[in-house]
Every structure is written in C-alpha cells, then in structure tokens.
Symmetry: C2
C-alpha cells in the first residue's frame, strides 16, 4: 500500500479508470517535484508563457482574468487533485492568471514528463484528458449560470457543484464541506458584488437551505437546494473513456 494511492489526484483518476501497479508508479513519479506557494502570490500570470503545469496536492487555487478597469472574473477554482495549467503547458500559452487562495502544495509537472506519460501509459493519458474534459464541462456550466440563472440559483448551483467535486476526492459530503473562500471570491466567480453575495447568502441561510459561515458550508436542506439550483450532476460523472 503506497502513499500515492491516497493522493487526491489518484483518487480522482480512480473514479475514471481502475489503475494498475505500473500506472500508480508513473503517478508516483509525477508527484516527485513538490513545491509550496504562498496565498495570493500568482502562480501563473496572464500573458506570460508558461513552463510547467502543477498537480494540486493540498490547498485551493483559482484561475481568473482581470479587466482593464480592474474588475476580476474567476473562471474556475482548483481543489486538491486538480491540474493547474494542463492545456497551457501543452500549447505554450496562458491566457489567464492562477492564484493560490491559501498556501498550496503542488507537484510540478514539466511538459516532457507529461508527453512521456502520454506515450507510455495511454490509459493514464485518457484518464487525465477525461478529467480535463470534465473541467471544461464545468466551465460551460458556469457560463450557463452567469448567463441564465439569477443570483440565488447561481449561488446554490455553485455551492452544490463544489460539494460534488470535493466529495470525489473525499473532502466533502451531502452534509457540507470546509471552504476557505471569502465572499469576495464568490462575488468574482459568480459575477456579482460582494455586497450582494452577502445578501444572497443570508437569504439562503434564512430559507433553511444552506449555511456559509466561518469557512464551512453546511447543506441544511440538500434536496430543496438541488431543486432551487436545478442542479443536475450529470456533467460531472461521465461514462468511460474511449481508450481502454
């Protein structure tokens, strides 16, 4: 029993495909170059060519874009087990910034390492691409929320989706989860102001649906929250990949 089997990244990929001893060993090697980054210090900066990608081992990060006027839109949050900058390292381009929300621990993955993994263990490659595809589906769902959901449903959907993602790596359940985000983070992700985020959270709390307080999300009434958000987790748990 190796420690690698308990890494969030392995947990996540295991949900996609049963991994062999060999594949676990490859994952072990990918986790070699451990680094830590302080909260708030940009990992990747908008427009900079990127040299490495990272597998997030502990802590939370977010990818975002800044507008000229200074407003910020958070595109996605990254939690343990998520890849940071996968696409950009393969394609030598980064159109957004990535910032650790708390101090994070991440394994650096160079482009060559990644290409080697793709060449040597295609099943692993498929699982990784699959995870990437799920991330993309989440971005699409996020877009739909910004375009066609009101603030309440948007918030509800967001908190539920985050819960589902955390559950996949053993960090959340239908009861709730620990969450280091501030109301400003929520505002920048949901396209709202922090003031309004506060009001929405109060409404949801007073309606007995969900409580966001002191870094803790508690689902007070999971089913009614799902109904309000029209939350359909179908886009999160997909069928098997095409490569065997």
């Amino acid at each position: 029993m190796n420690v690698i089997e308990n890494s969030p990244f392995t947990k996540k990929l295991s949900a996609f495909a049963t991994l062999s001893e060999d594949e676990l060993a490859v994952l072990e090697r990918l986790h070699q170059r451990r680094r830590t980054f302080a909260a708030g210090s940009d990992l990747v900066h908008q427009g900079q060519p990127e040299q490495a990608a990272y597998i997030l081992a502990a802590g939370w990060a977010c990818s975002y874009k800044i507008q000229q006027e200074g407003t910020r839109q958070i595109v996605d949050f990254q939690i343990p087990g998520d890849f940071l900058g996968l696409r950009s390292v393969l394609l030598r381009t980064s159109d957004h910034s990535i910032e650790p929300i708390v101090e994070i621990e991440a394994a650096e993955v160079l482009a060559d390492d990644l290409l080697e993994v793709f060449a040597s263990t295609p099943r692993l490659a498929a699982a990784i691409l699959w995870a990437a595809s799920r991330d993309e589906a989440m971005v699409v769902e996020h877009l739909v929320g910004l375009g066609r959901r009101d603030a309440d449903a948007r918030m509800a959907h967001f908190l539920l989706e985050l819960g589902a993602r955390l559950a996949l790596v053993g960090m959340g359940s239908k009861a709730g989860y620990t969450c280091p985000l501030t109301q400003y983070h929520l505002a920048d992700a949901l396209g709202l102001t922090a003031v309004h985020v506060n009001r929405v959270l109060r409404q949801l709390r007073e309606a007995g649906l969900v409580t966001f307080r002191d870094g803790q999300v508690t689902f007070d009434n999971f089913d009614r929250l799902v109904a309000l958000a029209e939350f359909d987790p179908g886009y999160l748990d997909q069928a098997g990949p095409i490569l065997k």
Copy 2:
C-alpha cells in the same frame, strides 16, 4: 492545386502550422463523408451519446444548453472550419445540444478516423488540438463577458470576436461580415433579452460604432469599438504548438 486547400478547415489549420502534401491528403480523406442538415434540426441533443463529430464546411451552427424553465444559453457559435463535437466524440459524452442556424454542410468524422489521424500525423493532431484549445479560450472569454461586462461592451466584444474568427477563414475583415444570426440568437448568447439586444444594437449604431442589419455586420468605427469592448485578440492567435 487541390480543392482541399481552399476548405475553411484547412485555412484555419494552416494558420497554426504549414501543412505538408501528406497532411493535406489526410485532411482530404477526413472530408469524405459529406452530409447536409436543415436549419433548426438538432444535430446533437443534450444527453444523447454521440457517435460522430463533424467538420463544418458551410453554414453556421450553435451549441447551447436548455434550462428547465425553457431559457436557453448559447455557449458558442460554429462557423465554417470549426469542429463540432470533437471532445464529445473522443470522450463519449455530450452535455449540450448543437443546432444548425442555417442549412449546413458538414463532413462526418468517426472516432476511429480521428484516432488514426492522431496516430499517423502528429503535427496535424497538434494543429487540431490547438484549434480546440483556442475554442476553449473563447468560451472562457465568453464567460468573462457574461460575468463582468455590461451589455454594450458584451455586444461589442462578441461582434469583434466573431469578425476575427471569420477573418481567419476568409469570411470577414475589419470592414465587417455577413452574419445569419437573429437578435434572438444574440440574446441567448449574451445572456440578455431580445428586447434589450435590440436597444443595445440601436445605441451602438447611433454612436457610429457598428451596424447590425439585414444579416450584415458593418464596423463603422473599428478602433472605438475595440476600445469600448476592451477587445484584445491575443487569446485568438496563439504561439506555436509544442509538437513539431
């Protein structure tokens, strides 16, 4: 001189990599199975497992998601040269619907064809993935627009981006382009109502920035429109891919 060199798909990929005779031949084969679809008839339906992908040869389509209440959010438009359902065919999942906006002509591409291309001509594969990555960057930019741009800037940005994409396949310029979208399409894409789209278009027209009328987009003052939209085409023309 082969006809394949004039296909929009080839034009687009050529912007990413210079293609050899062999690669052009492979593209030729990909274009074999031509099919046409009538406007309005769903090509892919939300939730259905998808068997094939398509390369759009002529006409416009859009990918969208429908909410329970019936509201619709258009995620992206596809123009000639674009891939339809690339990710979903590789990963056997489709979380959105695709609808032709006008009658379209598309080449059907089976998963096996695609895998063969990826195995036999890696440079072509890289160019295709690269195009896919650009599409993803556009979705992200779309998300930013919905979250952090007001209706005017959103519309301006959208019309400019579409122009840049069309220019890549020789269907648009700084002067403008032909565009079969209705104001309802714009509304569903921009997260607005058709009524408000109409007002926004009027404002932009009366301000002498851009005219959207009778299926024709005319840039009346390109530079001021770019300024209003804070349009930075950086995310559209990327540096070269990592695979040579």
